[in-house]
């Protein structure tokens, strides 16, 4: 029995635990054993918290025996190493925070704990979430369980690989330009980025504060809905968290999609999209149509400008957020500094990797005297145009559907020479961040043995419709249940 527990989804495990088919301790032991034997090749984890996980599992079993426990009681999850976890190493994939032990829990960590979740560990990621391949991590790249020569995507690459390899049924992630959805697409998992402000950012190490949003990676939309219900809602400790009612997302899954207006973006199928990926996405659209959705063509005329806009706004915000790393209060400090300036410059020069330094410098440049109007202000204007495009589209449709990523998983090392090639990988996902919209990716097929994602975007706080649409799609297809051969 217990050797198969890794194949089950969060929802299935909740039922099994509820029926007493197995205990949380048995489940936790099974997954920890799997991680210990299989993660050496994948490198999905920075830290495995085996002892704390077993202790939490015991507590969950005890509270269940007493007839108590939250909706996630005894269910295993893993956290992207960008979330502060009290008393546990929190590295953000960086040498800068190689020894940083968070003195508090992020709000979402606290909420999942309160619901009874068992945290198995912290997952690997691009350094400070800056990357689309997990190759910028100080702790080495994560490998894609579908092909070990390939990247799982990024920046939540460890979370996606851990879920795809059945190390855990669910993982948290963060998404600033596609960092949940692109790795979900590249690993055949479901990735949800909620509306900006839907989920608290407190305790989530900041990259670009007007774009960052926490979300989840799971193996079904149902599981994503379950987790979102626990994570979402106002948090006094995050001043950008929004006071908006949290619906029952699981309940909302069962509604019909008859007459749901699904927008298909003309510009999405232009040059740049792999033909076979395009075919998989078109097939997925036909499935939705057969299920009662109404397909309508819509325009996002400024789509091409979303990547350059992002690469002004995100680095600008990153350069100011990362100024807190000064080598004095926490984080890496250079040896034998000559003076204070030398301490700052060398601590930061040594503590940050190449991509993070490039982003800080790009941001510093676009905010510097004489360039602010030409770059930062201009980008915020174009960002408004992009948001207006979405607004116009959502006057006509309920959901926008298209590809998540222009190609399936690429080989490690393939895109590291040219930053622009890597940046363009996020062309379909960045718009949702710029406009603060909720979006998800669900598996919709394979190209040469590699998973492809279907991307759905909704209007602000439209998570329920997105999840319902994706859930219906999963009822008609079984792409989301596919498992890489070596991890069955």
């Amino acid at each position: 029995m217990s050797q198969d527990l890794h194949t089950l989804t969060l929802t299935q495990l909740a039922a099994g635990l509820g029926n007493g088919d197995y205990s949380s301790v048995q489940l936790t032991e099974a997954l920890l054993a799997r991680i210990a034997s299989l993660d050496k090749t994948l490198n999905a984890f920075v830290t495995v918290t085996a002892d704390a996980a077993l202790a939490a599992a015991r507590r969950a079993d005890e509270s269940r025996a007493a007839g108590k426990g939250g909706v996630l009681n005894g269910l295993p999850v893993v956290h992207k190493d960008i979330f502060c976890t009290r008393g546990v190493l929190t590295t953000c994939g960086s040498r800068m925070l190689e020894n940083f032990v968070a003195p508090y829990d992020a709000t979402i960590v606290e909420r999942l704990n309160a619901a009874g979740a068992v945290v198995l560990g912290k997952t690997n990621m691009d350094e400070f979430a800056m990357g689309s391949s997990n190759e910028t991590s100080y702790f080495g790249p994560v490998r894609n369980p579908w092909d070990l020569e390939r990247s799982p995507g990024g920046s939540s690459g460890g979370s996606a690989a851990a879920v795809a390899a059945r190390f855990a049924p669910a993982a948290t992630g963060t998404d600033t330009g596609g960092s949940i959805r692109q790795p979900a697409a590249l690993t055949g998992t479901v990735g949800l980025k909620p509306t900006y402000g839907r989920v608290s950012r407190y305790g989530m190490i900041a990259f670009a504060s007007s774009l960052d949003q926490a979300g989840v990676i799971t193996r079904s939309t149902e599981d994503a809905a379950l987790l979102l219900g626990v994570m979402a809602g106002l948090d006094e400790r995050d001043s950008t968290s929004i006071d908006h009612p949290v619906p029952d997302y699981v309940d909302a899954l069962s509604g019909p999609i008859d007459g749901l207006r699904v927008g298909v973006v003309r510009q999405h199928f232009d040059a740049g999209l792999d033909e076979k990926c395009a075919a998989a996405v078109r097939e997925a659209l036909a499935v939705l149509e057969a299920r009662g959705a109404v397909l309508t063509e819509v325009d996002l005329p400024n789509l091409d400008l979303s990547v350059p806009t992002y690469y002004v706004v995100a680095p600008a915000e990153c350069s100011s957020n990362l100024s807190r790393f000064d080598g004095i209060r926490f984080g890496h400090r250079a040896d034998n500094p000559e003076d204070l300036l030398d301490l700052y410059c060398r601590s930061r020069g040594e503590g940050f990797g190449a991509e993070v330094k490039r982003r800080i410098m790009t941001g510093t440049y676009v905010l510097s005297a004489g360039y602010y109007d030409a770059y930062y202000l201009k980008a915020q204007q174009v960002r408004q145009l992009i948001a207006d495009d979405f607004k116009k589209a959502f006057a006509e449709v309920d959901v926008i559907a298209g590809p998540t990523s222009p190609t399936p998983a690429f080989k490690l090392g393939d895109k590291t020479d040219d930053p622009i090639t890597m940046y363009l990988n996020d062309i379909y996902t960045i718009g949702a961040n710029l406009a603060g919209l909720p979006a998800l990716s669900t598996p919709c097929g394979f190209v040469e043995g590699l998973p492809v994602g279907l991307h759905l975007v909704g209007p602000h706080f439209g998570e329920a419709a997105l999840l319902r649409c994706s859930h219906h799609y999963e009822q008609e297809t079984d792409w989301h249940t596919a498992c890489p051969e070596s991890y069955r």
Binding site: S210, D243, Y311, R329, L385
Partner: protein
């Protein structure tokens, strides 16, 4: 190259980043490529467009000005590279 070595040196100083010599040449090249790439924004017609301030047009929420944090100095300074008597130590600033 849209950026020259002096400009990159200046940006690195503003950002308080010391770059190793071998890193420097690569940074000039890649940073120039990034700046060239984002330069395409200059062609966008944005007359009369109000720059975005917040993706949901929300305003900053305020809270009552009262003490909500407890004193956890020792806890927090566990992560500091160098402290003494509750103070952070830095190289001598004033001779």
């Amino acid at each position: 190259m849209s950026l020259d070595k002096d400009q990159v040196q200046h940006i690195a100083m503003l950002a308080r980043l010391r770059l190793a010599d071998d890193e420097f040449a690569e940074t000039v090249d890649k940073l120039s490529r990034i700046v060239d790439f984002v330069d395409q924004l200059s062609q966008a017609a944005t007359d009369d467009v109000v720059p975005m301030a917040h993706p949901l047009n929300a305003s900053q929420r305020l809270r009552a000005d009262r003490v909500t944090e407890t004193d956890r100095r020792d806890d927090i300074q566990e992560n500091a590279p160098s402290v003494e008597g509750g103070l952070y130590l830095v190289p001598k600033v004033i001779e």
